[in-house]
Subunit: 340 residues, 2 copies
Amino acid sequence: MLAPIAWRTPPEHYGPWEQVASTLTEGLVRQGVEVTLFATADSLTSAHLDSVAPHGYAEDPTMDGRVWEALHMARAMERSHEFDLVHSHLDWLPLALEAQWRAPLVTTVHGFSGPAILPAYERAGSALVSISDADRAPSLHYAATIGHGLDTDAFPAGPGGDVLLSFGRIHPDKGTADAIDIAERAGRRLLIAGIVQDEDYFDELVRPRIDDDRVVYLGAVGAAERPGVLGAAAMLLHPIHFDEPFGLAVIESMLCGTPVLAYRRGAMPEVVDDGVTGLLVDPHDGIAQAAATVAKAAALDRTLVRRRARERFSVERMVESYLDLYRDLRDAAHRRAPGE
Amino acid sequence: MLAPIAWRTPPEHYGPWEQVASTLTEGLVRQGVEVTLFATADSLTSAHLDSVAPHGYAEDPTMDGRVWEALHMARAMERSHEFDLVHSHLDWLPLALEAQWRAPLVTTVHGFSGPAILPAYERAGSALVSISDADRAPSLHYAATIGHGLDTDAFPAGPGGDVLLSFGRIHPDKGTADAIDIAERAGRRLLIAGIVQDEDYFDELVRPRIDDDRVVYLGAVGAAERPGVLGAAAMLLHPIHFDEPFGLAVIESMLCGTPVLAYRRGAMPEVVDDGVTGLLVDPHDGIAQAAATVAKAAALDRTLVRRRARERFSVERMVESYLDLYRDLRDAAHRRAPGE
């Protein structure tokens, strides 16, 4: 299991790719699969851990992420003959060097930074996994779509409440400023949680509106406090301004029983069961639409939200889907080389 | 021979790494060495050419340089078992993946973008070649210093003239604005040639002083016109603001008989024979010092400048130095594996 090394695996705060690599690794180990996790040296895992990078490069300005990522990948590559399969969460670099791997490669495509990286994917023989159908690039062939799962027991049912919640990195993509407008129009208080990823956006459009009463900024919320914050909200506002490939915070919220009010774009129609676990509104004139929908979203049955989310987004379901894919690849390899 | 792919090999205008890869390749072929050049598909060579990238990524905003560089390197890596030796001009990526090469690796270190890339070099077993002693990183072990050479016949003796010349990418590092000040104080006309690499610097400190009389900007000067421009100048002004690792324009100028007036830093003391092929001045208060030295530099004997430069910077001398290194590595490999 080749995790990214921007952050520790699992991450302490932000780090969705590392989070998925961790959740899958631990789930596979529980199923009796022997896994070696390539991640930062400070990572926590019940699998075998192998590391080159001492800690995440996103936490250390003296580390060049490109250099450490290459060294990290090279380490896994050198050992790849030891494994039945290599599962990469590392973006395009392992694909560009695919002929060097000594085991079949599975790549979970967590997101595309842009069309310019497609040449690495188009040439690759790796089995590609999309994390939603919405995130598929039309020019690529995928082996499967496997949505993320989470340790559902880590997200207990929350009591709900009156306050609305914006949860995720603070960036124009995530629409934090839209969430403030929606809450204001709906006459509700708003809590904001997440790392500041775009300082200018935060300074211009978010910080001036924080008054510690109607709009409260909690800062980054770590793994331990996350379920409490999510579970105590009336709903998660998710007015995204990009085609989000999945949305881990969305499923975390639903697992706690907190419904989601999101703009209908990216993977939201796949992740949110419209009318059951949340409500989707058109992004055009989204603020007015969303504000008008707040009362209806608050009336969704939290027990049903939670039940549906636990059915769809458990780690066991994700692990089983990946195991099916691994078996298919093994069987296909055996058919190609029957003598081995 | 693994050339960079920012530009064609050889480059049409700027591209010193590609230029050196080209010069060395053609020189080796003339010595009877069989060379496969990995470079952009539009490259020109008498060696075997192999390519992934259609053209240089620096000329095409739709190409992601990191992706194409990885694909390009991967191609050479896949074929590396065919070669006695792989000579890389590609910066740190081939070093980070060194265990994947199936032939001994020689790396010419054309320059460090910063200390953060050192981890890739420190772990590498590649024979490292510095292009000047000044450019050596103290923490690394080098196999040799081999300065660049050029096809000396491509740079015929020029007549000289009254005008001063600033030649190179327009960027604070290269001190284009200093050159304007030096020429003005010395009461001389100045020609500026080179690509604009830093638009802000050009717009603020260079463009306002271009008057098409005392200060003339020629734009980028291609390979064909270069010797004419260099040879018709009284001297090359090279008031650098960084520790330049070599300085190809400096040797091109000297080969044409045109002396160099440079700041004493980086590789300049190694490349310029102070008092013979040029004059070096202290970078502190460099403009005044340099302006006061213009007359003395103009009085240097152009025939001696040219003679010394041809002795020191011929392609034959560079090729012989690299062949010596290749032979040493082959002999060392044979000593380690006498049975093969």
